[in-house]
């Protein structure tokens, strides 16, 4: 059986042993949903006006 690590509780679980994949349990999936709704998941924000996020165009010439 293939094992995976639950993103919430970090426990190892068999992927076929749960209906709640990619979580170990429905409970952990609920916690995850709660975190989405609480706006706890974020990614770094890169301002597009300072140009840091784009490849320098000089590289083309």
């Amino acid at each position: 059986m293939q094992n995976a690590t639950c993103p919430i509780c970090s426990q190892q679980f068999g992927v076929t042993a749960t209906e709640a994949f990619p979580f170990c349990s429905e409970r952990c999936r609920k916690i995850d949903l709660g975190r989405w709704l609480n706006e706890e998941y974020s990614v770094p924000y890169e301002r597009s006006d300072d140009g840091t996020e784009t490849l320098p165009t000089e590289e083309l010439s």
Partner: protein, 833 residues
């Protein structure tokens, strides 16, 4: 009934006594709960309790319980034995000679008339004593070993059939009671050994050190229980199938005396708990060995203390994310296994089954004791404290999340006859699900272009706006606002979590469209993570796609075309620049056509490696001087010895050097030389511990070496890659000619750029910084129109990598996240999720 007959056999003096017996037999439920299994087994416990009392007072060490072949039960201990001599008061009361033994067996509440020790187990249902057992038995026999002899007395339905008789001599002491429950009273008189075993084991846990032996002569089953560590072992036993979060069991015991009411009898307490990774609460409480199934004041005292102290700890150690939500008692009791045992002089039992302790003073006592010792325990075991508190916080999170999920669902369903579609959704006209498409578009301006450019018939647009928050002092983060998550769930319509039903989705394809920059790729990651975790079926069944908006617009005269990636753009420029171009290496030779293309591709592959080498701080010019003249190879190994760098081309040479300079046998620890000794440890690193430090192989140099071999075929050596020193001489080394244009090139590394620049002539290249920079028509032509667009289907194939990427990108650990982003920022779009 038997009443009349028996009354006639006894004198009037016995009236009171008779009415006791009759009362018990008439209303057995008042004394033993019921006349079913519970009451039947309770008879055994009543007799065993007396033996346990002897054991706890240190007069007995063993209690044996036997179910005999005929269904009668024998309980035997090696205590002092019930006194058998004449009891004066009773004799006077009855008007005939009555022994203490007979009093114990036939007079209700007689036990209370002689000392039973500090913890008298009486009250309510329980502790009614062996008298009741006798009253409810068809027959009963007591054998007392005491003062060198064995004494016996027999009873029928609670009446002594004769006086106490003195039997054979013995050097033992103890009491042995055998009784056969009366089938006139009980529904069934068949004992179940599992029930008895369970209770006897419980008693052995609760009374540490006492040996309890059980035997069922009907089946031959035999068990022996003895626990030196008492309820600590009880907790371990209960947790035997679970994973502990605490290595040891918390334990506290003692006697509590209320200082303001010193006259009140002391309350004995014993408490043990251990956390496991389970989610349930496993609380067992006892009062005077009686299992209080309905709980009561001893439990509330413990619970209040636990909640109070753990919250205090969480607060003072800053373990709570925000103070708006604190774990409640039930959160902190998830996964706890606890045993509470108290000894109370006058317990008041309440509740349906009279198994709930009512004494207020016990609450105060347990709360105060438990609070003090728990505080100490947490301070002494900070690691465990953290684990326990975090478990409570997770439990709280789960509880709040479940509530939020419920609210979310209710909100969806309460809307007028079905889904409440989000106001921001620009829905399509068709309702043929398979044909319809939902574009999730990040950014307002992009949403505008998309709305204008979409094919209204079957394309819907849901603009999502990331919300910028200040996550840490030094950086900003983007989150998907709560409303956005809800809009998305409602628009897609297939539900989330365990309630997913992809057949109910409103669109055949859900397409994520974000800017082709780093911010866009982060948002895409966020959205994909959401789908992966909460709408995994949608992804599994292949209904989620990524749109591929172009990165460049290329205008040549009146013709316009779009290019999607950096790579592609570079490739196109190279191709165009190469046609009709001539490279003059300076010696009259000319390189053109396929040969020039070959050279350019070779230089492109070397360029990456040279940049990688320079990033290590190794300058190409300096490195060229280290070239091994014999083989014309650059050194691949760098060994640092006594702060000098040594360079090697071959592995063997490295090994030889290292062997020669291998570290001398370790010196005496430096701190011994330090006479002061005080801060010696902090200063030891001053001495070089490793004389030879080997830097990992410089792999990129292998690529450069390979490239140099190929370059030699064109007649170039390494010098051709190194910028010419400005010697005042203005003569260019190389030139590139294309039509009338001639470009001077200082070194070969500049050739690639020169060719691309030549290719760019006559082109007007625009790089889109975001979807919003495209107008509606452009967006439609390149990204929306099924005729021209490229969609990438999101699959679950690369789940391991994707999942890891999500957790790093969203993780709390700042360092790995920053590292990861720097490494992958530019090629995240290549990661096929």
């Amino acid at each position: 009934m038997a009443k009349e007959k028996q009354q006639s056999e006894y004198s009037a003096d016995d009236l009171q006594h008779l009415s006791d017996r009759d009362h018990v037999r008439k209303r057995p439920g008042m004394y033993i709960g019921d006349t079913f299994s519970r009451g039947l087994h309770h008879l055994v416990y009543e007799v065993v309790d007396n033996s346990i009392d002897e054991a706890m007072a240190d007069f007995a060490s063993h209690v044996t319980v036997v179910i005999n072949n005929d269904g009668s039960v024998t309980v035997e201990d090696n205590g002092r034995g019930i006194p058998v001599e004449e009891h004066k008061e009773l004799t006077a009361e009855m008007g005939r000679t009555v022994s203490t033994l007979e009093g114990v067996m036939t007079v209700l509440k007689f036990g209370g008339k002689f000392e039973k020790g500090a913890y008298q187990t009486s009250g309510g249902l329980h502790g009614v004593g062996v008298t009741v057992v006798n009253f409810l038995s068809q027959w009963c026999e007591v054998e007392v070993s005491r003062d060198g002899f064995v004494y016996r007395q027999e009873y029928e339905r609670g009446e002594a059939t004769g006086d106490v008789t003195k039997g054979e001599a013995t050097d033992q002491t103890g009491t042995k009671t055998t009784f056969k429950p009366d089938s006139e009273i009980f529904e069934s008189t068949k004992y179940v050994s599992d029930i008895l075993v369970k209770r006897l084991q419980e008693l052995a846990f609760l009374n540490k050190g006492v040996t309890i032996i059980f035997r069922d002569d009907r089946s031959g089953l035999e068990e022996e229980f003895c626990y030196e560590d008492g309820i600590i072992e009880f907790v371990k036993h209960l947790n035997r199938a679970s994973d502990d979060l605490q290595p040891d069991v918390f334990y506290v015991t003692g006697e509590y005396v209320d200082e303001d009411n010193a006259d009140e009898p002391a309350i004995g307490y014993e408490l043990a708990f251990q956390y496991t990774n389970e989610f349930t609460e496993n609380l067992h409480s006892y009062v005077n060995n009686i299992h209080t199934i309905e709980g009561g004041t001893h439990e509330t005292g413990f619970k209040r203390a636990l909640t109070r102290i753990l919250n205090q700890y969480a607060l003072s150690n800053n373990l709570l994310k925000n103070n708006d939500n604190t774990p409640d008692g039930s959160d902190f009791r998830e996964g706890i296994t606890a045993v509470i045992s108290v000894k109370v002089a006058h317990p008041q039992f309440e509740g349906q089954t009279k198994t709930k302790l009512g004494n207020r003073e016990v609450d105060t006592a347990v709360n105060s004791i438990c609070g003090d010792s728990l505080t100490k325990y947490l301070d002494q075991n900070p690691k465990i404290a953290r684990i326990i508190v975090n478990k409570g916080i997770i439990a709280m999170e789960a509880r709040l999340a479940a509530r939020k999920a419920r609210d979310l669902l209710r909100k969806r369903k309460s809307a007028l006859g079905g889904n409440a579609l989000p106001g921001k959704l620009r829905d399509c006209i068709s309702n043929e699900m398979e044909r319809c498409e939902l574009y999730l578009v990040e950014g307002d301006s992009a949403g505008g272009s998309a709305e204008g450019g979409r094919m209204r018939e079957f394309q819907a647009i849901l603009p999502l706006r990331g919300k910028i928050i200040n996550a840490y002092k030094s950086r900003e983060d983007k989150v998907l606002a709560n409303e956005e998550v809800q809009s998305m769930i409602n628009a897609i319509g297939c539900g989330i979590g365990e309630e997913q039903d992809t057949s109910k989705r409103r669109y055949g394809k859900t397409i994520i469209m974000t800017d082709a920059d780093v911010d866009g790729s982060h948002i895409r990651t966020l959205l994909l993570c959401f789908f992966y975790r909460q709408m995994n079926q949608l992804v599994e069944q292949g209904h989620v796609y990524l749109a591929q908006p172009p990165l460049f617009r290329v205008r040549q005269g009146r013709k316009v075309h779009y290019v999607q990636t950096e790579e592609e753009m570079k490739g196109q420029l190279l191709e165009k620049g190469l046609s009709d171009a001539t490279f003059n290496p300076g010696d009259g030779q000319q390189i053109t056509g396929e040969e020039l293309e070959h050279l350019c591709r070779l230089l492109a592959s070397m360029e990456e490696s040279i940049v990688a080498l320079e990033r290590r701080g190794v300058n190409l010019k300096a490195h060229a001087e280290r070239m091994d003249l014999e083989t014309s190879k650059l050194p691949v190994f760098r060994v640092t010895h006594e702060s000098l760098n040594h360079w090697f081309v071959k592995r063997e040479d490295v090994d030889a050097f290292v062997a020669e300079h291998s570290p001398a046998p370790p010196e005496e620890p430096a701190n011994e030389k330090n006479e002061e000794g005080e801060e010696a440890e902090d200063h030891t690193p001053a001495a070089p511990t490793l004389p030879v430090v080997q830097v990992p192989e410089l792999h990129e140099v292998r690529t450069i070496n390979g490239g140099l071999t190929d370059l030699a075929e064109f007649g170039f050596d390494i010098q051709s890659l190194i910028t010419q020193e400005r010697t005042g001489e203005q003569e260019p080394r190389y030139t590139l000619a294309k039509g009338d244009n001639v470009t001077n090139i200082e070194d070969l590394r500049g050739l690639l750029g020169a060719v691309r620049a030549a290719g760019e002539k006559g082109l007007q290249i625009t790089r889109f910084k975001g979807l919003g920079e495209m107008n509606a028509e452009e967006l439609r032509e390149t990204t929306l129109d099924p005729e021209n667009r490229t969609l990438i289907k999101v699959t679950m194939d690369d789940l391991g990598a994707a999942s890891q990427m999500f957790s790093i990108l969203m993780g709390d650990k700042v360092e790995p996240r920053r590292e990861f982003i720097e490494k992958h920022a530019l090629d995240i779009q290549n990661l096929d999720v």
